[in-house]
């Protein structure tokens, strides 16, 4: 077997747009090699001399992102992301991957889909929504349920508007934890968006991404709605350092989430400590 190279590939940034005061949305040209990611996979992004970190793909080539491009959302939280978010259109990001498990979508065909995102969780979940919309005829009802701390922190507002405007049984509901005057939408935690949603419990899949507390609340509600444990898909994001099952930073019990995840069904992790 070959040695796995840790050398990244330079990828040109086609567009860099501020999503909020601290989030930048990148449209990036795919590397000059085979690059066929699946929703839930991630890439390692770096700047030589500065550092490297894992980022979820927020849109895949031809599914939300233009053909030949993928998309990222980078939040400015530390030294590396401070410098990464200074890269502008025409600049270069250094990319390894995609890494992570490739989940087969065939079992989801003909089912209802519930997409649940809290806060920054919309970044990875957006790739799932765009995948579902790209293959719209394969699914029945699609619910996109998105929560944020405040209206200002709602990400991808353009996409949320686009999805909301659809009339083909795609339902978008938003909520915020707190809002000032002017917000006419819902106030409450993300899981509260599940109230009143009636679906066929045998034939509905849910995809979740958000902070740990959101998982627990949403799983409780989804299980109470009668959904199967292996129909509940979680993205368990960890701070991967290598992406190839070696560095140990993403270990959950005996499992390396960079390879066996980050996308896992609740049935696969329910017995594991420190999962959600």
């Amino acid at each position: 077997m070959p040695q796995v190279s840790m050398i990244p590939h330079p990828c040109r940034v086609a567009a860099a747009t501020a999503q909020s005061s601290r989030d930048v949305h990148y449209v990036v040209e795919v590397p000059a090699r085979s690059f066929a990611p699946e929703p839930g996979q991630f890439v390692m992004i770096s700047l030589p001399g500065i550092g490297e970190a894992p980022f979820s793909l927020t849109a895949l080539p031809g599914e939300g992102a233009p053909p030949g491009h993928f998309e990222l959302l980078i939040r400015r939280v530390g030294r590396l992301t401070n410098l990464l978010t200074r890269v502008r259109s025409g600049g270069v990001l250094y990319v390894r991957g995609p890494y992570g498990r490739r989940v087969d979508w065939e079992p989801f065909e003909g089912a209802n889909l519930i997409m649940l995102a809290g806060g920054l969780g919309l970044a990875p979940l957006r790739a799932f929504v765009w995948r579902a919309l790209a293959r719209r005829r394969e699914f029945r009802r699609i619910d996109v349920l998105v929560g944020a701390r405040s209206p200002d922190e709602l990400l991808f507002k353009g996409d949320l508007d686009t999805w909301s405007a659809r009339t083909d049984d795609v339902h978008v509901r938003l909520t915020v934890d707190a809002a000032r005057e002017g917000w006419t939408g819902r106030i409450g935690v993300t899981s509260s968006l599940l109230e009143g949603i009636k679906v066929d419990a045998h034939d509905t899949y849910a995809f979740l991404c958000g902070p740990p507390v959101m998982y627990r609340d949403c799983l409780r509600r989804l299980l109470a709605m009668g959904l199967y444990e292996n129909h509940l898909w979680l993205t368990l994001e960890r701070r991967m350092k290598c992406g190839i099952g070696l560095c140990g930073n993403c270990q959950l019990s005996g499992h390396y989430l960079c390879q066996e995840g980050p996308l896992l069904s609740y049935r696969e992790v329910r017995h594991l400590r420190e999962a959600v």
Partner: protein, 343 residues
């Protein structure tokens, strides 16, 4: 010749080193002050073959504490060029105790089952290991006999018993045979073989037993003790210093970081050792920590060694070397924990 036992007069050790030096970078246990570590040796170097456990295990040579993954250089057009370092020269490691031989086996099983990366297995494949039998326990804290390490000879190419004036050597691999042939050693005498049998028997009695169960039962024992108060009882005095990780022959976790010149034009991406007991190891985006308490972190380390590794890689991740106990500033003992959960 395989399995046969030869005698090498002690003064011929230098000839063995000389032969190895033709093909390998040769490292042996050498005393420096009151400690012993593996260092580059020459034929005339005095080896401390009676050494007690080194502080750092042999994994330091196969998955080094600090290693360049690649170097980068910014070209005239602003784009970066990358270059991987040349592969490491083959290593000969002399005088490796049973616990550390076991550690190298665990290192291999981890790398071969966990990922497609061949860097470390390739280094192990190309290495020449001279195993060395222990006559007395290295540390009060060691429990190598319980963990099946005391008598382990794999992956050594040659295995040695130190009888004082003479070393008895067993050939374990084809490579071991090739190296030894040059020295044209005589077969061990009947008297030496009798002495070896006698000392091996005495050794087995000299090494204490600490656990009252086979290591294969550890996984189930730990599973049953998941919510034990034992974890808190130990974690209360843990300082999160991470020494246990650094001295462990089977820890493999690393961090990745970049180093560059001030103008950022050249530099390297490095991997450096880290561990699950080090603060921040389990921190993730948004400031969340999925294993925030010392109790969780300590339990995780013990579970990884005693449950996750055997379940995943087929080998218990503890060799019984006792380093993590010996070097723990607050005397947290994996041996006691194993003993208590397995009782």
């Amino acid at each position: 010749m395989d399995g046969e036992i030869f005698r090498l007069p002690r003064e011929r050790l230098g000839a063995l080193v000389e032969r190895l030096a033709r093909d390998y970078r040769v490292l042996g246990p050498v005393r420096r002050g009151d400690s012993v570590g593996w260092v580059d040796i020459r034929p005339d170097t005095v080896l401390a073959l009676d050494y007690r456990t080194t502080m750092l295990p042999p994994r330091q040579f196969f998955a080094p504490q600090r290693e360049v993954l690649f170097r980068f250089r910014r070209g005239a057009d602003g784009s970066f060029g990358f270059e991987e370092p040349p592969s490491q020269e083959p290593l000969a490691l002399l005088g490796v105790h049973g616990c550390d031989l076991t550690g190298l086996r665990v290192l291999r099983s981890f790398h071969e089952s966990s990922c497609r990366d061949r860097v470390v297995p390739n280094r192990l494949d190309r290495a020449f290991i001279l195993g060395l039998a222990c006559w007395t326990p290295c540390l009060d804290e060691s429990f190598c006999k319980d963990m099946g390490s005391l008598e382990n000879e794999s992956p050594a190419a040659l295995y040695a018993w130190d009888l004082g004036d003479v070393l008895l050597l067993k050939v374990l691999t084809q490579r071991g045979r090739e190296i030894l042939e040059v020295l044209a050693p005589a077969a061990a005498t009947a008297e030496e073989l009798a002495q070896l049998r006698r000392r091996t028997r005495v050794r087995h009695e000299t090494f204490p037993s600490h656990l009252r169960f086979a290591p294969e039962k550890l996984a189930a024992a730990l599973e049953a003790a998941q919510d034990d108060i034992l974890w808190e009882a130990n974690a209360e005095r843990c300082l999160s210093c991470g020494r246990c990780n650094l001295v462990c022959p089977t820890c493999t976790c690393f961090d990745v970081c970049d180093q560059a010149t001030l103008d950022g034009s050249t530099g390297a991406r490095l991997r450096t050792w880290t561990g699950c007991q080090v603060p921040g190891f389990s921190k993730i985006a948004g400031g969340h920590d999925f294993r925030p308490t010392r109790t969780q972190q300590l339990r995780y380390r013990i579970f990884r060694k005693g449950k996750y590794m055997p379940e995943r890689y087929g080998m218990v991740g503890c060799t019984g070397c006792g380093r993590c106990i010996h070097h723990c500033p607050t005397d947290i003992s994996i041996r006691d924990i194993f003993r208590q959960v397995g009782a």
